[in-house]
């Protein structure tokens, strides 16, 4: 996989001419810029010596203006180019990151918090970009401004004066380099305190009934006040440090100025340097502080970017654990026979097998019902089929082919899937349903909607199929989401359909309709239904009862009732358990 350092190097090489142009233009701008004090100094001397008349004054002024404008244009150009190049890299890095994430398996996302991943995509990418655009600008600017200023002062003023006056300000970059990270750290802590307070507020207001009912308002106020006090404390910690930096840097400048005044004044009085040089030097000195200060910032910039690159490297070098095996062949036309011959399956992050000794055979075109308690392994089992998690080799077969030996693409094309949470994207309902088939006709979509018993709900939405799902549109209930997800899966019309407890949030009546529709449209094609209401699977050709990760019972509905085991117990309980779903 791509290493982000490599990526950065390639990017820099690919854009080497563009970078060369922009860096050159910044360098050129510095060379122009340092003429400014020099010109002023010369002008001063000429004025003193009475060598100035109207014509030369006009000439000098025009020259000053040209230098001033030239610098701004050149520097602005370079700065702008670098900024654009940095943003282009930001774009490419984010794109790379997303493409990479698309290849990684569910196991990967299970082990990481999405918040962390977003943080990488947001902040790490940005800090690399900042180093590449702002950092590079400042670095070029600082280095060359410093170099050319020094050259100018050495040549035109006095080496001695320059070196002596510079003593206080050489500490500036160290000061920035030392205090900068401390300020950043303190700022982070202050932000944490702030989000602590926000969290508490949210927690407290969400539970406002409880707080009121227990007359606990004052306790909550005390807890809130503690958080607010922590914010004040930590903010002051930030300001103690930043005030130190803000006051010390100009002070260093003033110290340098005192030396320049004293020593430069002395040199001027003793006629070692002309007044013009002295004047120019005081201006140069002011020009020196900024780049020195920026050197400190640049150091921090690059340090941060380097840490970010390291984190991105870890992300981007993650090898997808589920991919085509060498020599994988496409699945071809699928009849829909599913054979599971699994000795044990353990999650990549697990210690105990989640499934063991599972032997199931589904003939082409049959419907298999899977039932069992929470955490009995139902979802795990069906996840092995489309290789959401990888089964051990030689344990899951479709039409006699080990799922691990066929290409992922052909395998997943053969399977349609309804997740139990009914996951939908924040686009329109129509786009969600046609997710696997962008060119689906309206009729096809509406047909799928009908079969998922979603038509009536859809009609209550303002824009029908074009209604947006999520924050900007309608919020669907769990049952509505499940039905939309069923429609999406039905539209895909694959040889194998998996319903992972996808009817848990719809009412009895709707469930009946959906099951009847599925039985109709899926006639002759393999369907796997996980359910926890037995009514959803009682008509299946074969029912498997999972218990503790293994098959406890299997057979037809009647077989299982006769056996009088877990299934029969569940059936009896569900028939008689009392409840008011009022």
């Amino acid at each position: 996989m791509d290493n982000p350092r490599q990526l950065l190097k390639q990017y820099l090489v690919r854009h080497r001419w563009a970078y060369l142009v922009s860096i050159l233009s910044i360098i050129l701008s510095e060379i122009v810029m340092v003429q400014f004090p020099h010109l002023l100094g010369e002008f001063t001397d000429a004025l003193q010596a009475g060598r100035v008349d109207g014509r030369t004054l006009w000439h000098d002024t025009a020259l000053l203006a040209v230098v001033g404008i030239g610098y701004v244009v050149l520097y602005g150009f370079g700065q702008m180019r670098n900024g654009m190049l940095g943003r282009q890299f930001e774009y490419e890095l984010r794109r790379k990151l997303f493409l990479h994430w698309e290849t990684l398996s569910t196991a990967y996302f299970r082990q990481r918090s999405i918040g962390d991943l977003l943080n990488h995509a947001l902040n790490d990418v940005r800090s690399v970009r900042d180093a590449l655009s702002g950092g590079l600008n400042i670095l070029t600017n600082a280095v060359f401004l410093l170099a050319s200023t020094l050259v100018m002062t050495f040549r035109t003023v006095s080496v001695k004066l320059t070196l002596v006056s510079m003593i206080p300000i050489v500490f500036v970059p160290f000061l920035v380099g030392w205090l900068g990270p401390r300020i950043r750290n303190a700022t982070r802590q202050a932000q944490e305190a702030l989000s602590d307070m926000a969290d508490l507020t949210e927690e407290s207001l969400t539970a406002i009934r409880l707080i009121k009912a227990t007359a606990n308002e004052e306790v909550e106020q005390r807890r809130f006040t503690e958080r607010v006090d922590a914010i004040v404390r930590r903010q002051m910690g930030v300001f103690r440090r930043s005030a130190l930096m803000q006051s010390l840097i100009p002070f260093m400048g003033s110290l340098a100025f005192v030396i320049a005044l004293l020593y430069g004044g002395f040199l001027t009085i003793t006629r070692e340097i002309p007044l013009g040089s002295f004047v120019a030097f005081t201006l140069y000195l002011a020009m020196l502080i900024t780049p020195l200060q920026e050197m400190g910032y640049v150091f921090n910039y690059f340090q941060r970017a380097s840490a970010s690159l390291q984190r991105l490297e870890v992300l981007l070098t993650e090898v997808p654990d589920i991919r085509d095996e060498p020599g994988a062949a496409p699945l071809g036309r699928v009849q829909g026979e599913v054979v599971i011959h699994l000795d044990a399956f353990t999650y990549p992050d697990g210690t105990h097998p989640a499934l063991h000794d599972v032997r199931i055979r589904v003939r082409p075109g049959q419907t298999l019902g899977i039932v069992g308690r929470t955490a009995s392994g139902k979802t795990t089992l069906v996840n092995l089929l489309p290789r959401i998690f990888d089964p051990p080799p030689g344990s899951v077969f479709i039409d006699g082919h080990d799922v691990r030996t066929v290409t992922l693409r052909s395998l997943r094309e053969a399977i349609s899937y309804v997740p139990q949470d009914g996951f939908l994207f924040s686009t329109t309902i129509g786009e969600n349903i046609a997710f696997s088939k962008a060119d689906a006709t309206r009729e096809e979509i509406l047909e799928a909607v009908r079969n998922a018993a979603f038509t009536e709900v859809l009609e209550t939405f303002p824009d029908g199929l074009d209604t947006l799902v999520g924050e900007r549109g309608v919020t669907l209930s769990g049952g509505q989401r499940q039905r939309a997800a069923i429609a999406r899966a039905l539209l895909k019309d694959a040889p194998i359909l998996i319903l992972d407890d996808s009817l848990s949030a719809v009412d009895m009546n709707t469930e009946k309709q959906i099951i009847a529709n599925i039985r109709r449209v899926r006639r002759g094609r393999t369907t796997l239904i996980i359910a926890h209401r037995l009514s959803a699977v009682r008509h299946a050709d074969w029912i498997v009862v999972l218990e503790g990760g293994t098959v406890a019972e299997q057979g037809t509905h009647e077989d299982l009732l006769r056996q009088g085991g877990i299934y029969a117990d569940m059936y009896r309980l569900q028939e008689t358990e009392q409840g008011v779903t009022a």
Binding site: E102, F266, R412, A582
Partner: protein, 590 residues
């Protein structure tokens, strides 16, 4: 603007801090204006004067150093003082806002989303704090330096100074125009970045779906589009900011050239000494920074006003449910026995659409009474009235004969306890969650409460027992365990009257039994009103009240109601048929 003014009283205790800041800024600005002036004196008197004077030079240098040290000290102290005052003001606003929100009655929370209130408390106040720090400082410091520079220029030479004044409106105009557009572009970039983040968050969460449906390319295309839009906005924003900064710099350089032109003539004609020209060159550069920063504060002011408006709106709301003017002194009364009486209660959430119509009933002290009825029958509304989350439009509610509107809200809530369907956990330890962070409930009391409801063994099994940290959002406890914690809370608080809104969640049979035992322990020794979702819970109740569309339709024991063959009997029959709905297969299968 008015709303901002209304927040000013919070700064009252810090007036002297702000005065101090002004004085320190005066000192600091004075020192920075003094510095070029000192150099001018050195040049004109000691270096180029008729008699170059090394001693004078040393004096000036010493003075310069003193001035610099004074500047350092003034600046450092000023930042500390200002930030302390600003932070303290915001602290006061935050605390006032939070307690104001908590004082509101339920109607307020029905119409204000928690997310927005959190924004009010955390980020709106943060924005307002900038008014008391950055904005205030900029007005004082930059305003002052502008004034000082102008004064200094006029002192040096009236004519050149007047020329320079022409720059001020130009600079302000340019700067304001740029800033407005910069702000727009900044916001565009921000919005587009958050679109990227939202897209990523959703797609990472749904990566499984993308992969199973094999839509990687399509989603990558969608991402590229958002990513590209952000890049465009970001480049546009950057370009404008470069343009802005360089334009300012350009003007600065041109202004120096202009001063050289005008001042050079003056020197040629011996109208001014050279030192004056030098000082002008320095001053003209110093001109730009304060103007730039003042225009920046214009943006700050705008967002501050918006934030202050939002805070002001919240602070202006008065709670519907008012504290009594002459509350009953609870201490003077005999201990509460717990008789609850509803007299002819009519109540509507929205005027004209009552959800309760003339409801009356009495619950004798110590009784266990169940309330049943379909969703919307008015069960929860009844209970919200007893806790005074809302006040009824007609009728009254009494406890031991005292109208609850005559009790202090805090007293009422000590008498009436509530167990909600949904159990709220707070970030903190198990023990803190039971005692609700109160200092007056000891560890022993917490353990005793947990034991009473059968939660002790469950808690002991947690990794750190009672000190196990819980998280509000992270579900590190099962539904049943959460229920037990909420029971333990009530036992620890020990109110004489308890309202129990039974949880509808499916529990596996073992937990179910545990919760049932806990419930019985909680109900012991107090008046208990249960909103039942499972008829089994109230089968043995002293009395069952059946509600239908806001009216009491039946009342009696389980047996009596069954015998009557009315609504209760029907509910009972239906619940048996619908039983498959609350499957024993165990909660939401994973």
């Amino acid at each position: 603007m008015n709303s901002l003014m209304r927040l000013l009283p919070y700064a009252r205790g810090y007036v002297w801090h702000f005065v101090g800041v002004i004085l320190l800024v005066l000192v600091y600005n004075g020192t920075s204006v003094l510095q070029p002036y000192l150099v001018k004196i050195a040049i004109d008197q000691d270096i180029t004067g008729p008699a170059p004077n090394l001693h004078g030079l040393m004096d000036i240098a010493g003075l310069y150093l003193l001035v610099a040290v004074a500047g350092l000290a003034a600046n450092y102290t000023q930042v500390q003082l200002l930030q302390y005052a600003g932070q303290s003001v915001v602290r006061k606003i935050r605390i006032a806002l939070f307690s104001h929100i908590e004082r509101q009655s339920m109607r307020f929370f029905d119409t204000n989303a928690v997310g927005r209130l959190v924004t009010n408390v955390s980020s709106d106040t943060e924005t307002v704090s900038q008014f008391f720090t950055n904005f205030f400082l900029s007005m004082v410091r930059d305003g002052l330096s502008l004034v000082l520079i102008v004064v200094a220029m006029y002192q040096l030479d009236v004519r050149i100074a007047t020329y320079c004044m022409g720059l001020i409106p130009v600079l302000f105009a340019i700067s304001l125009a740029f800033r407005r557009r910069l702000r727009e572009r900044y916001q565009t970039t921000r919005t587009r970045l958050s679109n990227i983040i939202a897209f990523l968050a959703e797609n990472l969460a749904g990566m499984r779906i993308i992969q199973i449906f094999h839509q990687e390319e399509r989603q990558a295309g969608a991402f590229a589009q958002l990513n590209g839009l952000h890049r465009r906005a970001s480049i546009a924003e950057y370009r404008l900011s470069v343009l802005f900064n360089r334009t300012f710099e350009l003007l600065g350089n041109v202004a120096v050239a202009a001063v050289v032109w005008v001042g050079g003539w003056a020197v040629l004609q011996h109208a001014i000494p050279f030192g004056t020209l030098y000082a002008f060159i320095t001053y003209i550069r110093q001109f730009f920074q304060p103007i730039n920063s003042i225009t920046q504060q214009w943006n700050t002011l705008q967002s501050t006003i918006v934030a202050a408006d939002r805070i002001g709106k919240v602070l202006a709301v008065q709670p519907d449910v008012a504290e009594p003017v002459h509350p009953v002194a609870l201490e003077a009364l005999p201990p509460i026995r717990g008789e609850v009486r509803f007299e002819d209660i009519t109540f509507a959430y929205t005027p004209g659409r009552p959800v309760l119509h003339g409801v009356s009933f009495t619950v004798p002290a110590g009784a266990f009474v169940g309330f049943v009825g379909a969703t919307g029958a008015g069960k929860s509304s009844l209970m919200s009235l007893l806790t005074r989350f809302y006040d009824p439009q007609e009728g009254r509610i009494t406890i031991d004969g005292i109208d609850i509107r005559r009790l202090r809200l805090a007293d009422l809530h000590r008498i009436v306890g509530l167990v909600q369907q949904e159990v709220h956990l707070f970030t903190g330890t198990v023990a803190d969650n039971i005692r609700l962070f109160r200092s007056d409930i000891s560890d022993e009391a917490v353990v005793a409460a947990a034991k009473a409801v059968g939660a002790h063994e469950v808690i002991e099994r947690l990794p750190d027992g009672y000190q196990t940290r819980l998280f509000a959002k992270g579900a590190n406890l099962s539904m049943g365990e959460r229920q037990l914690i909420s029971f333990a809370r009530i036992v620890a608080l020990n109110p004489p009257i308890l309202i129990l809104d039974e949880a509808t969640a499916n529990l596996d049979s073992q937990t179910e039994a545990l919760v049932q035992t806990g419930l019985e322990a909680v109900a012991k020794n107090r008046t208990t009103l249960v909103i039942a979702h499972r008829l089994s819970t109230i089968r043995h109740a002293d009395r069952i009240v059946v509600l239908h569309q806001g009216r009491i339709v039946e009342e009696g024991t389980h047996e009596a109601l069954l015998a009557r063959g009315g609504l209760y009997a029907e509910l009972h029959r239906k619940s048996a048929v619908d039983a498959v709905g609350t499957g024993a297969a165990g909660g939401a299968a994973r």
